[in-house]
C-alpha cells in the first residue's frame, strides 16, 4: 500500500481542489453541475492544444494545428479561458433558467445534457487517444519514503498553495465573504445591498478557473483524455458530500480523503489485477460515513435559520 502513497497524495489533491470548486458553485448557485467534469477536461484539452508542437497531430480535425506555446503560458491562458467559459455558461444559460424559475431537477438534467454534449465535442476535436503534454519524462525519486517525480512534487506544492489561497480568499476578502453570504441566502444578500447576480457570475468564473487548473494538473500527472473529467466526477461528488456539501473546508478535506483512499486501495493485495474496481472501496466507505453522519463530516445540520 505504501508504494501508492505518492499517487494517493496526487489524486487526493486533484479531487480536493475539484471538490472545492464544485461545492462552492453548488453552494452559491444551488446547481448540481454534472458538467463540472467537462470544465476540468476543458482546462486540460485547451492546454494541450496551446502547448503541443504544431507538427503533432493529436487533433481529429487536422484543420487545427496546435500552437506550440510554452507550457506555463498555455496553462495560464487555459485557466483564464475556463473562467470566460464559466461566465458564458452563467450569462447565456443558467441565468435565464434561474430568472424563469426552472426547477432544480430541470436544471440538473440540463447539466447532464451539457456534460454529454461537451464531452463529445472533446472527442470530436481531441480524439479518443490519450495524449500527453510535451514535457520531458522524469524518473521517480524517493522523498521521505514516498515515490514521486520532481514534477509531481512541484504539482503538490503548487496545488497546496492554490488551496490555501482559495481558503484565504473565501475567508478574508470582501468578495469571498459575499460569496458565502449568497450561499447562505441570496435574497438576504440582495436586500443587504449585494448584487447577487454579479456574485453568482464571479462564482462561475472562479469555480471554472479552479476546475480548469485541476484538469491541467491531472493532465500533467496522468494524461489528457476526452472523458477525463467525467471519470473523476463521481469522486468529486463523493468528496464534496463526504466533507459536507456547501462547506469549502469540508469539501477540501472530503475530496482529499476520497482521492487518497481510492489510490491506496489499489495497493491492497486482493485488488491485484482488479484496479478497475479501485473506486469501490472508497465509495463504500463514503456511504458508511454518511450513514453515521448524514450531513457530512464538517456539514452542520442546521443550514437555514
Amino acid at each position: 500500500m505504501i508504494e501508492q502513497l505518492g499517487n494517493g497524495l496526487l489524486l487526493g489533491l486533484i479531487v480536493a481542489i475539484a471538490s472545492v470548486s464544485l461545492s462552492l458553485l453548488y453552494g452559491v448557485t444551488r446547481i448540481v453541475n454534472f458538467a463540472h467534469g467537462e470544465i476540468i477536461a476543458l482546462g486540460a484539452v485547451l492546454t494541450l492544444f496551446f502547448s503541443s508542437s504544431p507538427e503533432s497531430s493529436f487533433l481529429y480535425l487536422d484543420r487545427f494545428s496546435p500552437l506550440g506555446s510554452s507550457f506555463i503560458v498555455s496553462s495560464i491562458a487555459s485557466i483564464l479561458l475556463c473562467g470566460v467559459f464559466g461566465a458564458l455558461l452563467e450569462l447565456c444559460l443558467f441565468r435565464p433558467l434561474r430568472k424563469n424559475n426552472y426547477g432544480n431537477v430541470a436544471v440538473l438534467v440540463i447539466t447532464i445534457g451539457l456534460s454529454i454534449f461537451l464531452r463529445h465535442i472533446f472527442l470530436l476535436f481531441a480524439s479518443a487517444r490519450p495524449a500527453s503534454y510535451a514535457l520531458d519524462l522524469q524518473k521517480r525519486e524517493d522523498y521521505f519514503g514516498i515515490q514521486l517525480t520532481p514534477r509531481n512534487v512541484q504539482v503538490l506544492i503548487i496545488g497546496s498553495v492554490v488551496m490555501i489561497l482559495v481558503g484565504l480568499f473565501l475567508s478574508y476578502t470582501k468578495t469571498g465573504r459575499a460569496m458565502r453570504a449568497v450561499r447562505d441566502s441570496s435574497e438576504l444578500a440582495s436586500v443587504s445591498g449585494i448584487n447577487s447576480d454579479y456574485i453568482i457570475t464571479l462564482t462561475w468564473v472562479f469555480s471554472s478557473m479552479l476546475a480548469g487548473f485541476t484538469g491541467i494538473i491531472q493532465g500533467v500527472i496522468n494524461n489528457v483524455r476526452w472523458n477525463m473529467g467525467f471519470l473523476i466526477l463521481l469522486l468529486i461528488f463523493a468528496g464534496s458530500i463526504l466533507g459536507g456539501i456547501g462547506t469549502s473546508f469540508g469539501a477540501m478535506f472530503g475530496g482529499f480523503i476520497i482521492g487518497m483512499l481510492v489510490q491506496l486501495s489499489v495497493g491492497l493485495s486482493f485488488m491485484d489485477g482488479h484496479t478497475e474496481a479501485k473506486n469501490a472501496i472508497a465509495l463504500a466507505l463514503m456511504i458508511l460515513i454518511l450513514l453515521i453522519r448524514p450531513q457530512g463530516i464538517f456539514g452542520s445540520k442546521e443550514r437555514i435559520s
Binding site: D184, N195, S300, S305
Partner: protein, 238 residues
C-alpha cells in the same frame, strides 16, 4: 408636514403570475414616523414588504421613494436609496460570524466600516461579545438584534421590520421594542409588522390593518385600538 419617504399606491403583487396576493394596497411612510401593519395570518403583510423590496414581481400600482417613482428596480439598489429591511425568517447569514454579518451590510458603503460596526456594537453589546461566533449559533433574540444591526449599518432612512418580536421571551421583546424606539429617536422611520397588535398599535404613530391583500382599516394607533370593528376582528375582547 413631514415628507413621505415611501409611498405605495394601489400595489398589486404575488408570487406567481396571474395570482395576486396583494390586491391594491395604499400606504405612506413619512419621515421620523413609526407605522405598524397588523392583520391575520396570511393577510399579505410579509408579501407587502417583499414587494416593496423588489423580491417578488409587481403586477400593478406604483411605488415612490422620496417622491421618485421606482420601476423595474433591483433589490440591492434599494439599500443605496436608504431602505433597510429585516425579513420575518432567515434574516441572518447563519454560516457567517456576527462581525461578518455586519460587514455584509457594509458592502455598499465601505468608507465608514469601523465606525459603523462600532455604533452597532455599542447599541448591542451582546453582539460585540460574540462577534467571532457563527450567527447560526445565536439564540432567537440575539438573532433579531443581529438582523437589526445588519440592516441599520447601511444607515437607512426607513427600516422595514417583519415581526421582529416573533418567538421571543417577554424580556427579549421589551429589548427589541426599546431598540426600535432608540433607532426611531435617531430619526429613522420605522415600518413595523407585528402579531402583537395591541402592543404595536400603542407603540406606533399610525397603523394599517391588512386583510386578504387589501387595506381594511387605517388610522392613528390610538384610533385603531378603540375602533370596535378592529377590536372585534383582530384584537379580541379587551
Amino acid at each position: 408636514m413631514n415628507k413621505a419617504i415611501i409611498e405605495v399606491n394601489g400595489l398589486a403583487a404575488g408570487y406567481v403570475k396571474g395570482l395576486n396576493i396583494l390586491q391594491g394596497i395604499d400606504l405612506v411612510i413619512k419621515e421620523k414616523e413609526i407605522i405598524s401593519i397588523i392583520g391575520p395570518n396570511g393577510a399579505g403583510k410579509s408579501t407587502l414588504l417583499k414587494a416593496i423590496m423588489g423580491l417578488i414581481p409587481i403586477s400593478g400600482g406604483r411605488l415612490y421613494i422620496n417622491g421618485n417613482e421606482l420601476a423595474n428596480f433591483k433589490s440591492h439598489e434599494l439599500i443605496k436609496k436608504g431602505i433597510g429591511y429585516v425579513p420575518q425568517v432567515a434574516n441572518v447569514f447563519p454560516s457567517l460570524t456576527i462581525e461578518e454579518n455586519l460587514e455584509i451590510g457594509l458592502w455598499t458603503n465601505t468608507k465608514n466600516s469601523k465606525e459603523g460596526k462600532k455604533e452597532i456594537f455599542e447599541m448591542f453589546p451582546i453582539l460585540f461579545e460574540k462577534k467571532r461566533e457563527k450567527a447560526g449559533n445565536l439564540s432567537g433574540g440575539q438573532r433579531q438584534l443581529l438582523a437589526l444591526g445588519r440592516a441599520l449599518i447601511t444607515k437607512p432612512d426607513v427600516l422595514l421590520l417583519d415581526e421582529p418580536s416573533a418567538g421571543l421571551s417577554p424580556i427579549a421583546i421589551d429589548e427589541v421594542f426599546n431598540s426600535i424606539n432608540e433607532i426611531n429617536n435617531k430619526g429613522v422611520s420605522i415600518l413595523l409588522v407585528e402579531q402583537n397588535a395591541k402592543r404595536a398599535l400603542s407603540f406606533c404613530d399610525r397603523g394599517y390593518v391588512l386583510d386578504q391583500g387589501k387595506n381594511s382599516y387605517t388610522g392613528t394607533g390610538r384610533d385603531l385600538l378603540d375602533d370596535p370593528n378592529v377590536i372585534d376582528l383582530y384584537l379580541g375582547k379587551l
